[in-house]
Symmetry: C2
Subunit: 253 residues, 2 copies
Amino acid sequence: MGFSVGQVSRMAGVTVRTLHHYDEIGLLTPGDRTRAGYRRYSAADVERLQHVLFYRELGFALDEIAAILADPGADRMSHLRRQHALLSGRADRLLAMVAAVETAMEAHMTGIELTAQERLEVFGGFRPEDHEQEAAERWGGTEAYAQSQRRMAKMTKDDWERFKQEAAQTVEGFTAAFTAGEPADGQRAMDLAEEHRAHITRWCYDCTYEIHRGLGDMYVADPRFSGNYEPHAEGLTPYIRDAIHANAARAGE
Amino acid sequence: MGFSVGQVSRMAGVTVRTLHHYDEIGLLTPGDRTRAGYRRYSAADVERLQHVLFYRELGFALDEIAAILADPGADRMSHLRRQHALLSGRADRLLAMVAAVETAMEAHMTGIELTAQERLEVFGGFRPEDHEQEAAERWGGTEAYAQSQRRMAKMTKDDWERFKQEAAQTVEGFTAAFTAGEPADGQRAMDLAEEHRAHITRWCYDCTYEIHRGLGDMYVADPRFSGNYEPHAEGLTPYIRDAIHANAARAGE
DNA sequence: GTTGAGCCTCACGTAACGTCAGGGCCGATG
DNA sequence: CATCGGCCCTGACGTTACGTGAGGCTCAAC
């Protein structure tokens, strides 16, 4: 008994070449060979292969996988814990992205018949639709997002303009604090961050500190936000993010 | 205005070299250059980059991504639909894996103090624990799995032996049908598949046709199952899977 | 006894970058 | 105004994780 390369490759859904490769680099050396030199994989070998593929799926390099599997201090339970942490992290991200796409689809459909043109008229290039998608992508908040959608949908043109003006004021404040050289974890910057959070809560949805931190990170990462802030002052976007984080830290959690 | 390579790389979380590479292969050519030859990325360029990274994350090759993004017939909505399908597929798989690891952890902890030794004694190598983990990995059934756990936990040594005997009978039947050359989608094979499904439902949990199909696939993929079937006849495992699929198709959905 | 499927070992090819090397741009600073 | 540090440029070779044959052995089956 024991399995040949072909059998193992079919079981595990990899190519024969991959098995050869893993043998070459010593990641998975079959326990035995026939007298003809054929590789013979034991059940234990196949189990090891499955662990390899598991970690590979999660994006680990082969030498890292070798290190993980070689660790003698790692018992079955610690492996499971590690795998669980890695998997749920990935799953969270994916679910957030799914939610983002769903809401984007919704926004796309409803937005068309409602206000697409009008919004463009009012805001020029700043399209809330675009921001909504990305926002959802980060905090994946099905709940908060739905809330936001409902409120936003009811807003009139006047509301939009007031909303935008308030937002602009906050940005002004941040710009002033930033160019004045005040630290991002200073009193003023944190107060502005809190004001920003309140602004969102008032107009859009209940913005927790956690969500707020997510927003801050996104501002830096997304050019549609940073592109709106950076023209005021180079480096303003990370400054705002840091202020948000400092404010969240101040607030407790 | 417009962004430099460094700025874009920081925004998107990629290296400068990656942007150079995408420029080289024509996947993402910056809209403009300064007189000094510096790349200048427009907001549209950055958006394109985000789409590229999105599909890259999902495992597409760069030339495939180029094709996707080049498709003139693809409007925003069809992109969203595609992304949604891809994402939810991945998310499903990940969630199933998370559930699998969770139940494996549970089984590991409770199993040790309960019956680990006894089960080993009875089955000599065929450890239901191991099978449970892998089963859960496929159909990720929190519900069905919990049910199974509860029922299994109550089984006595005698129950286990009857269970195993029934299982062996089914395998015998499959082996006979297989070696007799009867097709996997034939009457006999499908009946055996149905019997197998009933067997699981009786002893373990409510095995729907969908779950059953998942099991069939797993039997082929996992050496702990295939290793138990293949000794009866080479090729028996895929035969059983095909019979299960045929039976599920016959049953309607 | 030969034939076809499966296995072996080189060995070069490829995708998607990483990593220097050698050399311009440019805003601040002495 | 020189120069210094940071950012940018273009080659060009290195790396990872295999893909893809070439040429030849093995083995169950007809």
